[in-house]
């Protein structure tokens, strides 16, 4: 109790950090989860798409800035870069690799994306080099917000406080709407639930798959693009991202969009609180949460238990 009264406001601060972190985590995981739902492949190369999205956004942004573009243009540039990456790479990867593999064993499908990941890691290095890259014009342009803390104030960047959670919420809302209320979205859901039945109903599963993968790729790229203003992009950034989003997806339940949001929130807040309470366990938090959730809900938070047909 004494601890709480002493640290009560700190908890509030941890909440703010946790939210923005959760937003960043959600942005990566949601695409992965969407793709898993439809393709039943845990796409390891999702991490590379994240990194490439970040690099592409930074390159494009720095290029625009060198032409004298105003700083507010940075935000649309982030979006444009991720759409570009998704639209260029998504269909190519889906068409040339995953589609050929879709009747193979799940292990092989997963390893194909692992191989792709290894290739993209080195390609990235060849294109962008090894020196950290950053594009922080949009963040600088938005400035900071002072959050009161007792008699003190704590500055947060407006980007972290508004843009990240804002984009995450918008993404969640749009996806939820599209999946629930549009024809295309319902086709995606139908394929997620039962591919064969969806086909039997006359849904063009191949088209749905391609579309979903492209959207997933664009979401990964968007995750990277959104990170570009705050983090430094270095070789290996994709690898650390992908393990984290795996944990989110397993916690969430496969293919569950809302689940990804809740899981990201749990992991984001858990990590933030760990930094305050037990900083030495911060690294383990996502895994601990995942193990705890799966212990009680083996199919993940929002996963539907699959009963085997006999």
């Amino acid at each position: 109790m004494a601890w709480l009264s002493e640290n009560g406001i700190l908890v509030g601060l941890a909440l703010l950090d946790g939210l923005s972190y959760a937003a960043a985590v959600f942005m990566v995981a949601v695409g992965l989860n969407l793709v898993f739902g439809v393709l039943r492949v845990l796409n390891v190369a999702h991490g590379s798409l994240y990194a490439i999205g970040g690099y592409a956004a930074a390159s494009l942004g720095l290029f625009a800035a060198s032409l004298g573009a105003p700083p507010w243009l940075g935000l649309p540039i982030l979006l444009a870069a991720s759409v570009l990456v998704g639209a260029l790479l998504g269909p190519v990867i889906e068409r040339l690799l995953l589609r050929r593999m879709q009747d193979r064993e799940p292990v092989l499908q997963l390893l194909v994306t692992f191989a792709l990941f290894m290739i993209l890691e080195d390609l990235q290095k060849l294109v962008w080099g090894v020196q950290p890259v950053v594009f922080d014009a949009p963040l600088k342009w938005l400035g900071t917000v002072d959050v009161p803390f007792g008699t003190d104030v704590i500055p947060f960047t407006a980007y972290q406080l508004y843009v990240l959670p804002g984009v995450a919420l918008a993404t969640l809302a749009i996806l939820a709407y599209v999946l629930r209320y549009t024809l295309t979205g319902r086709m995606v859901v139908a394929v997620t639930v039962d591919r064969e039945a969806a086909r039997a109903m006359g849904i063009d599963a191949a088209k749905v798959t391609m579309l979903t993968f492209t959207v997933g790729a664009a979401l990964a790229a968007l995750g990277g693009a959104l990170a570009a203003p705050t983090v430094s992009l270095v070789p290996g950034v994709g690898a650390s991202t992908i393990v984290l989003s795996f944990a989110v997806v397993a916690t969430a339940g496969l293919g569950q969009i809302e689940g990804a949001a809740v899981a990201a929130l749990l992991i984001g807040l858990g990590r933030s609180f760990a930094v305050y309470v037990a900083p030495e366990f911060e690294v383990v938090v996502p895994y601990a949460i995942m193990v705890a959730v799966l212990l009680f809900r083996p199919q993940g938070l929002f996963g539907v238990a699959e009963t085997r047909r006999i």
């Binding site: 692992f114 191989a115 690294v283």
Partner: protein
């Protein structure tokens, strides 16, 4: 492929390894590592039989390696350390196995990954004891009282690895054809049927899981005795991924596959690293992609189909 021709092939392979290690001294080290990884992959193969993929078996590898490193400080006898390391790996495998055999597919894979990442964090965390990422240098070790050093030492460890590889390979070969082994394969195709035959699939999988942990333990011990330096990177998820990679590369059709895969993997990496120090990862990725797309049976599949065609 008959049992006899497989045995002959295994013995020929062993002879080839000895010849290569004699003719090209620096390959001794690489081949020892390859044999060790082959041992761990043999365990992965067991799980693959049941259709399950573990992305966390590096945990047992690392546990055994650290057991050897710490154990050598008290009892520097390799012939004691080796079984001790494998035993500890087996015990941990049993404890973790009791929990993870309830899960299938991606959840099984992710839980294993999570637990190995927790172990990785523990190794980093208790850096006062483990020196974290710097790792531990093994104190001098003996075999039957003779110091394990220099060229004799290298041959001794290679010999140990070879004996273990042949023994475990033969054992797994026999076990896979036994009722337990066939029931294991039954988990992949029709798990429920096992229950309705009075056989617990969880226990069958647990047996395979413990065996795989023990073999990963042997592998970790051999790696520790060879590199004489252990680091937490041994338990990182990429090491586990590498094991699955090798399993697919070698092919899961025979117990020879893992060793073929491991040798091919290590040699490819060494030569790729020597030729394209900048992009060895891409070379490996391309090789894996090629194998999956064009030769889903792995290297073993290529060999056995050639023999069949001949």
């Amino acid at each position: 492929m008959t049992r006899r021709s497989e045995t002959l092939l295994a013995l020929a392979g062993a002879a080839l390894i000895v010849v290569l290690a004699y003719a090209v001294p620096w390959l001794r080290f690489v081949l020892t590592i390859a044999l060790a990884k082959g041992l761990a992959v043999l365990g992965i193969l067991l799980l693959l039989r049941a259709g399950q993929v573990s992305f966390g078996h590096a945990l047992y590898l690392a546990l055994a390696a650290y057991t050897v490193a710490f154990g050598a400080m008290a009892v520097p006898e390799a012939l004691l350390l080796l079984p001790l390391a494998a035993l500890l790996a087996g015990v941990l495998g049993l404890l973790i196995g009791l929990f993870v055999v309830r899960y299938r597919e991606i959840f099984f894979g992710m839980l294993n990954l999570a637990l190995s990442m927790v172990f990785y964090s523990v190794l980093e965390k208790f850096y006062a004891l483990t020196h974290g990422a710097d790792g531990i240098r093994l104190p001098p070790v003996t075999v039957l009282g003779q110091p394990l050093a220099g060229e004799t030492g290298e041959w001794t460890v290679l010999g140990l690895a070879l004996v273990l590889a042949l023994a475990c390979g033969a054992l797994v070969r026999v076990a896979l054809a036994s009722p337990l082994g066939e029931a294991l394969a039954g988990i992949k195709t029709r798990e429920t049927r096992l229950d309705f035959m009075g056989v617990s699939p969880k226990r069958v999988l647990l047996a395979a899981y413990v065996a795989s942990a023990v073999m990963a333990g042997f592998a970790g011990a051999i790696i520790a005795l060879t590199t004489r330096h252990v680091t937490p990177a041994l338990s990182y998820w990429t090491t586990s991924g590498e094991l699955v990679f090798i399993a697919i590369l070698g092919g899961s059709g025979s117990v020879i596959g893992p060793f073929l895969g491991a040798a091919a993997y290590e040699l490819t990496r060494v030569y790729a690293a020597a030729t394209f120090a900048n992009a060895w990862q891409m070379v490996l990725g391309l090789v894996l992609l090629g194998v999956i797309v064009f030769a889903p049976g792995g290297i073993w599949g290529m060999i056995s189909s050639r023999r069949r065609a001949a």
